[in-house]
Structures are given as structure tokens and as C-alpha cells.
């Protein structure tokens, strides 16, 4: 019996910033109760990109250093958490590079301590400056198509729209707008923030997102390593569903006999 060729995940590799990744799950490192939980979550999920806030890195090295818990082959994505404007983001990025943490930067410019919503205008400025300096720039942003286009021009390698408020576990509140970015922007779209459960990560992947970043949902779960693995698998499932060209959702029944068939009746 002849079987239909199955789509596999490796057919469309995840390439970004000149690197190829097998995993489409990015893990944030805040809020964990200890570094062992973090290390186990990295291993169990197979994540290859981990974000770390420079503000939390003990550059002087007299504390238990977070980097000792992150495998060497993992791509370190330093974020500019704490930056209130483009200038501060740029300075944090330079400090990270100088301290030897590489040139992959997740730009986070937040000028609002109540909702922690990103400042898109300052994010564009920071992206332009840092790309020009040779950084691999991944900007975290509020999903706005015009801003995403500006970020492309600024030299970003990916766009990271928020699903909902950071740490809210509310899932894809901005779904419609993320879909527009997926449709219109040629760079990988990585859904970041608010993804509270694997099913939501799966949904983002089914929509055609290139990857998903989670942190709070993993760090504050009873068993972080297990939920991290669940996220990784949900993301794979969502990716497969997207590749399989799953049928479009419809909000009405399809008539089973053609409505215009009468035109061709003999």
C-alpha cells in the first residue's frame, strides 16, 4: 500500500541569526525557586535558547552564578530588563558584550512598572542602534504591524510580540494581531509573555509562530522540569499541525450539496 509522505519537523529548520535550532522553545530564567530547577527544565525541554537578565547576573562572581547552570551549547540571549529607554537598553547590551556574554540581545524597553508593557518607539531606536553595532537583535514588542515593519528595517533577526501581559498566564489575548505579524513579516515570530500553559503555546505554533518563549508558567509550577517538557512537546505538536496545513476553522456549517450546482444541471 502506498502511504502519503509525512511532513517532519526537520524539513523546515528554525534558522535565526545565522544559527539553526532544533528546539522552538525558548526559556526565561526568572522566578525559579533555585538554579537546579532551572537546569533540569533546560535539560528536560531540550531548549537551545535561554534568556537571562543582565541585571541579575553577578558579574563580580561571588554568588552562585546562574550561568553555571546553563549548558555551554545553549545560546544565551541576554535581555535588557530594567531599561526604560533606548539609551539604557543600548548601554546594558554593551555591558553584557563587554562582560563576555555574547552578542545575542533580547531588547526589552519597559517604561511602565504597573503593566510592564513594552515601549515600541524606544524599542525601534534600540534595535537600530544595536543591529548597527553588530548585535543579533530580538526585540520584545507590543504586536503592531507598523512597528514590526520598522523593526525589520532596523535589522532585527526576529520579532517577539507579547501574547498577553508578562507573567499573567492569560495566553494569546493579542492573537489576531500576532496572526497579522505572522502573515506579513518574513522574520521568525516568537510569541513571548503571557503564555501560561502548553496548550496556549501549541495554539501559537498552529497559527504559524516560529517559536514560543515561556518563563513564569514554568518557574512557578509545582514541577518546573515536567511542565518545561510539556511546553516543548506542545510546541512540536503545534508546529506539526501548522506544517500539516490543518483545515481552517469555520464558524458555520458547510452545505454538503453545492449551492450553485443548479447552474450546470442538464
Amino acid at each position: 500500500m502506498k502511504t502519503q509522505q509525512q511532513t517532519t519537523l526537520s524539513e523546515t529548520p528554525f534558522v535565526m541569526g545565522g544559527k539553526e535550532f532544533k528546539s522552538r522553545f525558548l526559556l526565561g530564567t526568572g522566578k525559579f525557586k533555585n538554579k537546579t530547577d532551572l537546569a533540569e527544565s533546560i535539560l528536560s525541554s531540550g531548549t537551545q535558547i535561554v534568556t537571562v537578565a543582565l541585571r541579575r547576573i553577578d558579574l563580580e562572581r561571588h554568588e552562585e552564578n546562574i550561568l553555571e547552570y546553563i549548558p555551554k551549547e545553549t545560546t544565551l540571549l541576554v535581555n535588557t530588563s530594567g531599561a526604560r529607554n533606548a539609551d539604557e537598553a543600548v548601554r546594558i547590551a554593551r555591558l553584557a558584550k563587554e562582560a563576555g556574554y555574547g552578542n545575542w540581545i533580547k531588547i526589552e524597553v519597559i517604561n511602565d512598572s504597573k503593566y510592564l508593557l513594552p515601549d515600541n518607539a524606544e524599542t525601534i531606536k534600540a534595535a537600530a542602534m544595536l543591529s548597527q553595532e553588530g548585535f543579533i537583535v530580538l526585540p520584545y514588542m507590543y504586536p503592531d504591524l507598523n512597528v514590526a515593519r520598522e523593526l525589520v528595517k532596523a535589522g532585527a533577526v526576529s520579532i517577539m510580540p507579547l501574547g498577553s501581559l508578562i507573567g499573567s498566564n492569560q495566553g494569546l489575548k493579542t492573537k489576531e494581531f500576532i496572526q497579522i505579524l505572522i502573515n506579513e513579516i518574513d522574520l521568525p515570530i516568537i510569541v513571548d509573555a503571557g503564555v501560561g500553559r502548553p496548550s496556549q503555546a501549541c495554539e501559537a505554533m498552529e497559527m504559524g509562530a516560529s517559536a514560543v518563549l515561556a518563563n513564569t508558567a514554568v518557574a512557578t509550577a509545582g514541577n518546573p522540569a515536567t511542565i518545561a517538557k510539556a511546553f516543548a512537546r506542545a510546541i512540536e505538536a503545534g508546529r506539526l499541525a501548522f506544517l500539516s496545513k490543518l483545515p481552517v476553522e469555520k464558524n458555520m456549517a458547510n452545505p454538503s450539496s453545492p449551492l450553485t450546482g443548479f447552474l450546470f444541471e442538464q
Binding site: K31, H62, D87, E88, R91, R94, L95, S113
Partner: protein
């Protein structure tokens, strides 16, 4: 926002079940917004000279205590001692003397602190925007200024003389701090001066107004409980533990992202339990007298308040880990100007 009537009824509700409900909600919010992390800091008293007469304070201008202001050398010595414990976040405090500890002195202290700590906060006399700006550029990233009480009549009764008598200048201080570029502002009231429900309500309103007009600032609050100080002749009204716990829970629920600081004036038992209910930042191994960290005769010094929790930084870290919290020592660093 919660109304004053609701706040009063919550504080008056003595049913343990209601308190437990409040605590569970606070725990949930704490976990969601801050995860399993607790930041650590230490206070360092630079001077106890004061030109204001606040009847409840051991440092007040008419109180006969040994006055001292740390010299540069002493500042280095005290800071080196604290830094050795691993603390990265230092809170520099003085009495409120514009003459003895002017901006130039504070700037120098901040400059020295940069050699030892990644994050520097101040709890000093209120200033103008330009002065805060100078301190910000020198490397300070946080300022604490407490209104003490929002009841104007009571405020006048307990602040007898000195610049602190000016209620409005103090009330507008957080705005001036925010305009200077300082990243963190800490507000607070002294529990034991006035009606708690009314003061807390006003504090929340003040905080809300600040959040609205200066959204970029990171805010935190403190609720120091006044205790009787020997020889001072001031008797604060007592705030019981249940009320204190309710305040922490309410603040956590109403202001999910606002930090809550807790000093060593509270007991180890209470401090440990409050970690789950909303506290985000605690001090450790604090000395509350000028020169207290390196003094050869610490018992002869005059502390601003008596420390109830005398555990070392190491012991606090051990306790946090046992309670499944990750101790955060480094949470911010001044970004060197050379990178701009």
C-alpha cells in the same frame, strides 16, 4: 480601587477564615508576579545628626545621644564589612540634617558605595529635583521617603520643629525624586502614629497617583511598626500582628507588582511567614547605629531601632533556600557612563 469603608471593614474583620482567604489570594499574586525569589539588602547608617524634632524618633534633634557622622575612611570600613557578606544592595541612611549631611556628603558616600555594591539606595532628608539628579548621576538608583502619617493634624503634633514640619514639601518629594530619573521610590507610613485604615488608604492613593503620573518608576512600600524607645517619652499606639499581616496581604493584592520591604525590626518568625504573603525584599544582619558594623563597642552605640532579627546573611540565605526561595543579591547595577 478599594474604598476607605471597605478597608476599614477588612481591618476590623476578626474572623480567621477571612484572614486566611486574604492570605491565600496574596500568596497566589506573590507567586505569579514575583515567583519564588526574595531580594536582600542591608541598611548602613552614615550619620545620626538631625535638625528635625520628631517626637517618636530616637535620632531627633533634642534627644541626647552620641552624634556621629562617618568619615570617608569609616564609610569604606563599614561598606567593606557589609560587602563581604555578599550583600549587593545597600541602603544608606542619615538623620535629616541639611547642614551636617548635605548633598555633597551624600554624593561622596554614593561614590564610595559604588566600589562595593551594585545597587545603591538612600533614605535621607527630602531634596529638590536637581539635588536628586546629582545623586542619581553619582550612582544612586533608589530613594525611600516616608510620609510617616498622612493625617495633617497628627503630622503637626509629632513633627515639632525642623524642615520636616512642612507636610506638603514632604508629600511632594516622591514627585521630585521621579523627575530626577531615580529608578526606585519607596513610600511608607509609620504604624503607631495615627489611624491605620486612614493612613493606609492615603498611602495607597499617593502610590496610585505616582504610578499614574510616573509609570516608569519601580515602586515599593514599607510599613515600619513604631516601638517604644527608652527615654524618649513617646508611646506609640500598638499595631498587632494580625493587622500587620493584613496590610501586607492587602498591599500585595491591590498592587501586584509593587515591592514590599521588611526590615529586621520584625521578628524572625513573622519575617519568615510574610515571605509567602507578599514581602519581596528583606534586610539581613542589619546594624541600625552609625558605625555599627565595625564598632568595637557596639553596645555603647545608639541604634535608630532595636533589631529583632539578628540572623547573619548566611543564615537568612539558608532559611530562604529551605523555604524554597531563591535569594536575589544582585538585582540591578548602575550602568557605567562610559557605555553611553
Amino acid at each position: 480601587m478599594i474604598t476607605l469603608t471597605e478597608l476599614k471593614s477588612i481591618l476590623a474583620d476578626s474572623r480567621p477564615r477571612r484572614l486566611e482567604e486574604l492570605a491565600r489570594e496574596a500568596y497566589r499574586v506573590k507567586l505569579q508576579y514575583f515567583g519564588r525569589t526574595i531580594s536582600l539588602y542591608a541598611p548602613l547608617y552614615l550619620s545620626n545628626y538631625c535638625s528635625s524634632h520628631c517626637t517618636y524618633c530616637g535620632f531627633h534633634s533634642h534627644h541626647r545621644i552620641k552624634r556621629h557622622k562617618l568619615s570617608d575612611e569609616e564609610i569604606h570600613r563599614e561598606m567593606a564589612h557589609v560587602a563581604k557578606t555578599g550583600i549587593e544592595n545597600i541602603l544608606l541612611l542619615t538623620g535629616e540634617s541639611y547642614q551636617v549631611t548635605p548633598v555633597s556628603y551624600l554624593k561622596e558616600a554614593v561614590g564610595i558605595a559604588k566600589n562595593y555594591f551594585s545597587s545603591i539606595s538612600l533614605e535621607v532628608h527630602p531634596m529638590d529635583v536637581d539635588e536628586y539628579r546629582e545623586l542619581y548621576l553619582a550612582g544612586a538608583d533608589g530613594v525611600a521617603v516616608y510620609q510617616e502619617t498622612y493625617d495633617r493634624k497628627r503630622y503637626a503634633e509629632v513633627h515639632l520643629s525642623g524642615q520636616k514640619r512642612d507636610f506638603d514639601y514632604r508629600f511632594e518629594t516622591p514627585e521630585r525624586i521621579a523627575k530626577s530619573g531615580i529608578r526606585n521610590i519607596s513610600l511608607g507610613i509609620l504604624l503607631g502614629l495615627s489611624d491605620i485604615a486612614e493612613d493606609v488608604f492615603e498611602l495607597y492613593s499617593h502610590l496610585q497617583g505616582m504610578e499614574k503620573h510616573f509609570p516608569a518608576v519601580e515602586y515599593s512600600v514599607s510599613f515600619p511598626r513604631l516601638r517604644t524607645i527608652k527615654g524618649l517619652g513617646f508611646e506609640p499606639s500598638h499595631t498587632d500582628d494580625v493587622t500587620f499581616v493584613k496590610l501586607i496581604c492587602l498591599t500585595r493584592i491591590l498592587f501586584p507588582r509593587v515591592g514590599i520591604n521588611l526590615s529586621t525590626r520584625e521578628s524572625p518568625k513573622l519575617r519568615d511567614h510574610l515571605l509567602d504573603l507578599g514581602v519581596t525584599k528583606i534586610s539581613a544582619a542589619s546594624q541600625t547605629a552609625v558605625g555599627g558594623y565595625t564598632s568595637e563597642e557596639p553596645d555603647k552605640l545608639d541604634p535608630q531601632f532595636d533589631v529583632q532579627d539578628e540572623r547573619s546573611v548566611e543564615e537568612i540565605i539558608k532559611m530562604l533556600k529551605a523555604k524554597n526561595y531563591d535569594p536575589i543579591l544582585t538585582d540591578w547595577r548602575t550602568i557605567p557612563a562610559t557605555f553611553s
